[in-house]
Symmetry: C3
Subunit: 131 residues, 3 copies
């Protein structure tokens, strides 16, 4: 089963909680046991799983990535967004989550986030669900 949706980001850097959207499609797929691949087809965005209870965690993740001081490096790429490309490769453009009893087997504190590193833009997210 294959699904696709878009996310409109509103800042240069932002973590957008997409857990509810992914859960919706997992239910729609009727897959009871299997896995869901969450994939974003961009090179300056990423997908991660982290705490979605306290919204300060997602801001701290961006702060932590900024502390890597990538903005101080003299890069070659003409568009000036090399730090965003590197963050995309460090975090990764996909996550795989297990499906159990028709639901994403996320931990109590886990949510799924689209990471925007070069926005604001309209970003695509693809899901493949196999059972």
């Amino acid at each position: 089963m294959f699904y696709r949706f878009t996310v409109g980001t509103r800042a240069t850097e932002e973590l957008v909680d997409i857990t509810d959207k992914v859960s919706h499609f997992v239910r729609e797929s009727l897959v009871q046991n299997g896995m869901c691949v969450i994939y974003t087809p961009h090179t300056t965005a990423a997908v991660t799983i982290n705490e979605n209870a306290d919204p300060s965690v997602r801001r701290d993740i961006l702060k932590g990535l900024d502390a890597l001081n990538l903005s101080k490096v003299r890069f070659e790429h003409g568009e000036g967004n090399s730090p965003a490309h590197i963050k995309s490769s460090l975090i990764g453009c996909s996550e795989t989550v297990i499906i159990r009893d028709g639901r994403l087997a996320l931990g109590t504190w886990q949510g799924i986030f689209l990471c925007e590193f070069d926005g604001p833009r309209t970003r695509e997210v693809s899901l493949t669900i196999m059972g």
Copy 2:
């Protein structure tokens, strides 16, 4: 096929070799060719694959992550464990390993590690095996 086990970590930060446990469940699944997703449902832990021959490598990985100087950043999140959350997103909470001829197709030097970044705690690891 779905399996779950727990790992008791014994330090604030530690890489625990879980290769034998994962291999055990791969054999039990009787899957000959397919893949195994190793997933930890926590936001201050992670799963990685790296060298398990020389134990100094796993300590060096923790040292390398500490060299990112995340502990010097002034974070928002009240629990004081934001560096652990960031390390979790940098390493990632899952790995996917290919299964060939009934065995994990790991490289000669590769082992699977649960990464504890905010321990000691009891951590859960979930496996989904598809063939």
Copy 3:
């Protein structure tokens, strides 16, 4: 379906575009819809997805990883390649890409790269394709 190929790297650090090779095996598999796991069984190499239009991006990714200053840390591991092990865990030794209509569902600017962090060497890449 399982496939394997080798990549000869030519420098200490290098990102090698393997998109065409992976696409070739996806076509050969005749899988129309599913997923492809790209896996490298090494502990000082990795697999990432990033821009393959401007070749300066892949050099900038290596520059960005060098800016993490891992080469300044006093590591334990006797072989002197601990920074390569850490980069391997930060980027990760596999990627999962969705297959749609018999093709890799990569974004317009996305390519798949083998990351060499301790070369030059002959590196192996394994693919598992499920549909």
